[in-house]
Amino acid sequence: MNIERQVNLVRALLALSSIGLAFVFCIMLIALSGKDPGEALFWLFYGGFSPALIPETFIRATPLLFVSLGLAVAFSAKIWNIGAEGQLYIGGVVTATLALHISGAPSPIALPMLILVSGIAGALWALIPAILRAIYGINEVITTLMFNYIAIYFVSYLLNGPLRDPVSLFPETTTISSSLWLPIVVPGTRLHLGVILAFLIMTPIMWFFLKRTALGLKLEILGSGEKTAKYAGIESVRMIIIAMLISGFMAGMAGGVEVLGIQHKMRLEISPPTSPYGYTGIAVALLGYLNPLLIAATSFFLGGIMNGSTTMHRMVGVPVGMAGIIQAFIILFILLGYFLEEKFIHRIIGGLRKVEH
């Protein structure tokens, strides 16, 4: 068996056992809260993965997938964009505002343009932290995080002020014209074109970009070390900015597609407060080993857990916060798996070295 196979096998086993362990802990927690764990888990999976509810899981996974595909690009260059949440809000608010202004436009032209604009808005929001990092070396973790607050409070101001729907009780815009809603793909569900865009178009494109193009490889080399990148003749300033722009673009698109496909307006709670897309996307990107195909699978899985935990809450009365805790457990255990993985792989390699000498 060659080494990559062994490594992948170790990875798969660890991933499965860490998810298993996470559930063991969840069962204990649910039992502690006085609810029946069996029933709770049934509703968790029913709500997430029963055939009738699969479309909803895809819908939940879509913004996660957009965000985490973009983050994978930045993270492979070891550029830690924590600002997807803010980029998503900017993408959403710009899209909604524009859509409200062009409500009469023909949708075959308007929809692609709106989605493009949402991406550009997100990318521009990422541009300042990108420049600060690339040229002045200012830590992007801090700047992107701070930019989230600026973005969210700015959007909050807009939704409470100039953009507020005068008749709504909530801070949100008026509903955009239904001609600008993303068309439903499967009748009888809410599955909209954005889901297709995320899973069937952007995922393969991002995979191809990261794994098959010179630019994707250069980002990965930069991630492996700025010194090595310089030695390899890679202009790190340009690469950092490109990586940030792409990840901002994807996050912005997540916001835009959510507005056009599901909410049909910009709302302050466009990203669920218990597990915001912009932050959960970080975990998804990492759990998916920055590989777009695995990221798509992980988005689907976490989307299901997110939906399922709401169902669990409604049916069994497990507090909503518990859903967040369960997600956190899963993520923690998978990260633990990462840590163990290094050790196991070293052992495999150690055995190999002995043979070699």
Partner: protein, 514 residues
Amino acid sequence: MGSRKVDVSDNSLLFFEMVRMSVIELRKITKVYPGGIVANRDVDFDVKEGEIHALLGENGAGKTTLMKIMSGCLKPTSGEIYVDGKRVSFGSPADALKHGIGMVHQHFALIPSMTVLENLKLGLLDRKLSRDQLIVEVNELSKKLGFDLKLDVPVDALSAGERQRLEIIRLLLRKVRVLIFDEPTSLLCGPEIDRFFQALKQLKSEGHGIVFITHKIREALEVSDRITVMREGRVITKLKRSEVMSEEQLVELMIGEKLVPLPDRPRIPSDKPVLIVKDLVISDDLGVEKVKGVSFNLRAGEILGIAGVEGNGQRELAEAIAGLRPPKSGEVAFVGENSIFRPSYVPADRVELGVAMSLSVMINSVIRSIDENSKGRIKVLDFAKIGEFAQKVISFLGVKVPSLGAPVKYLSGGNIQKLIVGREILNSIKVLIAEQPTAGLDARSAEMVRSALSELASKGVGIILISSDLDEILKLSDRIAVISGGRIVKIFERAEFDPKAIGMHMLAAGGYVA
């Protein structure tokens, strides 16, 4: 400690010499750093009471590593440590201190914003002393050693010499029996060096064992009782002071002089320069000028050896020529090429610079030519081409890899080195800069690399060979430029090659950079 007090007034020194026990003894110490660099190989070393033991060797010979092992800062890969004949192992510098072994590092371990007294108090660790007791004890020690420590000034107001004296007092407060000094004179000026030596002699007469790490032969001869010479991680020889015949003898031992085999390749005389370096001034990352005006030409088909003690500007020179470090002033011109031209470069720092550790062997073999290995307007990687080239790199020097897709971090240090050297040689067009190309390789692989370099030169590529292995430089080069203190002090033509003369130029005044 009290029971082991040595009476130095004893005149029968010869007898004394025989019964004197080693305080600490290292046996068969081997240290392999992650990445596969062997810093110490089967080293035996010991320190006796009341002696000054000089540990002499070039930079990179393994002296500091050995002493870090002795003082508990590093753990040996294998080997044993004995204190007073009993086997011990040090988990930390604090462990070593408990056994009476302390080290004064090249860069002092003091807290600059705190006062002398506070630093001393911190250094006591678990020894409990009141402020008054501490002051009494410090003053006593200072008087004995002829120090005049001001206790209430912050450390950052002290000179290097004063800081060193503070470090010595701090170790003595912990009742150490063996003091290790790493290049102690490198930061001191003339009169301070004399004072330091006075203190050393005083410590010695009190029965302390002293290790004096240095690359300065004259200083080793001035104060030491015994001299151990290290080279390439091994102990080359141990001498009593009285057995040393001359400085030259020590130079030879340090640098190593072996037979220079006959040139093994046709040397095509060529006057056609491929690279012109003019008045190059280069700073290191901290802004310190490391290369202070260097000019030379590299001819087609020539190997120009650059000999020098490590840290005399070689690395900065190599990086500047390779286009990785913008020079402060001066010019690097590749004849007939535009300014984007990048020569092939084997960097000394293979892990940080030469490869992307987490990426595959395949990718790493084209890491400097990604665009050339992709096609179309969107630059899709041409994996067929990449795989083919990777296979060539692997077989060129016999790199052992689990598979082409395995990340480079799973390769041993020697194999990484072979991968880099192979890649750069196969990609060489006009100029190759080879920095320590055979470091960390076994003898057979090293010889393969050398013959590959020779062959490359005979094809007309100009090669700059930077190596700490003088034999290698002597064997391969057509000319040797000796670099010392950031300047090329002399260029030897092949007819004038003389290891001793080259060695002396390397060690010329100012040749060592601390």
